[in-house]
């Protein structure tokens, strides 16, 4: 079984570049900058319906907007436990990093690139994943200080700690940023991730080992 460490390829340098880009607006007089700690709800499934986990976590998110450029970065620490219906014997912890850099191509539409990196602890308790994001995002102002967004990202070049490949991987999300009072913002985000991973254990032929995760981030942040 090939264990192609996803961090050993070109993903990490790309991720560092993107994160650098993501951090740029904050230092360049971004028009909108929000930093928020977050609570996280997560549901994770892998390989079969029997391997399912549910949990929560915490993290933080920073978003910025400058002209037609926008960027966001989120890091969460998750604690996942097997559900009642799960056949898994033990839970695990995971750290997930997401980053996007977007460019507005129309009044309500932008294209974006980014990275996704999730590491599991213990390492073999679940698949660690790294991928590039290529997608589009639609953003709409619901009213003064309230913005809703919907995004669809293709997860390109995914790498798994347990090896394998995924010809089709997608991540879609629903985001909401509401100015509650003054600089206080409520930032919530939903992400659904589906990775059609296939492995070829022992060279006997490919088998499906899909990964599916739903994630909700709920945060209160400060807007600048």
């Amino acid at each position: 079984m090939s264990r192609g460490g996803w961090g050993g390829g070109g993903v990490v340098p790309v991720a560092m570049v993107l994160l650098g880009l993501g951090g740029w607006p904050t230092g360049a007089g971004a028009q909108h900058l929000t930093v928020a700690p977050q609570a996280v709800l997560v549901d994770y499934r892998e390989v079969s319906s029997g391997l399912r986990y549910s949990g929560s976590g915490f993290g933080g998110v920073a978003t910025g907007h400058h002209g037609k450029l926008s960027a966001a970065a989120s890091v969460v620490r998750l604690t996942l436990d097997p559900t009642d219906q799960s056949t898994a014997g033990a839970g695990f912890k995971a750290t997930q990093l997401d980053a996007w850099v977007g460019y507005d191509v129309a009044s309500h539409a932008s294209v974006e690139v980014g990275i996704l990196r999730r590491t599991a602890d213990p390492e073999f308790a679940a698949q660690s994943l790294g991928a590039l994001r290529l997608g589009v995002r639609s953003t709409y102002d619901l009213g003064p200080g309230a913005t809703v967004s919907f995004r669809v990202d293709y997860l390109a070049a995914p790498k798994f700690s347990g090896g394998g490949r995924a010809a089709f991987s997608i991540d879609l999300g629903l985001g909401l940023d509401v100015r509650l009072a003054g600089r206080l913002h409520g930032v919530v985000d939903y992400a659904f991730e589906r990775v059609n991973r296939k492995t070829n254990p022992g060279g006997t032929g490919e088998i499906d080992a899909p990964i599916q995760q739903t994630l909700a981030r709920l945060g209160l942040g400060i807007g600048f």
Binding site: R52, V188, F192
Partner: protein, 356 residues
Amino acid sequence: MTTCRGGGLFLLAVLAPAAGRAQALQNATLRRAQQAYDNLEYRQALAFGQAALRERLAGAERARAYEVVAFSYAALDSILKAVDAFKQMVLIDPERQLDPNRVSPKAYSAFDVALRQVLLVRQLRIDSTSFVAGQGAVPIRFMVTQPARVVTRAIGVGGVGGGGGWGSAANFLVDSSAWNGQVNVSWSPRLPNGDPVPAGSYTVVVEARLGQNTFSASQQIRVTHGRVDTLPHLTSLPGYQYLPETEIPAQTWRPLGVAFLYTGGALIGTLGLESSSLGASSKRELGVVGAAALVTGFVMTLRRPAPRPAEGNILYNRLLTEQIARRNADIAKENVARRQQVQLTIGPSLKTGAPR
């Protein structure tokens, strides 16, 4: 005799004030002539009047004596002699005017004939006026009783300079033409180089010449200089007002609709992408975020929409500002010219020259 009585009746009205004046007359003979006339004793009035004329009289009393004689002749139907007496009267007092409603037609016609038989310049009037130098003129009106060559001049008084410069008497030719009857001329008080005439007193002299006969009348006027009023700058154009540059859009259900659309998209996407082998995913996460989006959309639907720029009004205000700036630039330019102009005010002087 009937005519005499009729004329006397007419003259009663005219001479009623004269009865009072009779007391003020210095010359005793003239006073008796006036009293005789007042008593409708025209022959006696004529005799006393002629006797008074042979005496030494001041100008006004001499004119008065000729008037009594003229009216007496008119009452006695000696029109030609009345005309002669009136001629003498108007030569002494050319401004004397009879009211045709208050004197007898015979006397008035005799007076009228007399006026047309002597060369006079009467009723010289110069109205007060004010204008920017070079853009107005002083109106001068007078009456010439016979066709004559009339020369009108304005002469500086008290060393007011003119075409010859300061120190020499200014002499401006206003008009030189043949006139008869009512005459209206105008004087543009400017020096040959275009500058306004210096401030000060001027005498407007009207001289009429017919053969060897000449007659002149004059009137003093005062010319003062002043600044021309400048125009105030505009802050707005009459009838045009600035419009608000933001407008509040109408309240709609669009925020809630968009929240539904986006949440629905996430839900449909989630349902469509779920792996059959992994089973239905948890909807807890989507439920939390979707509910937040829907509540936010609903709240935003109820809230007053945020003002948004009104592009049309912004453009209109920009045009209005440009228009006001353009008008103010024109006003500034005009004010520069106005500050170099002189406002001339022409006022009559109380002193009026005697006719010669």
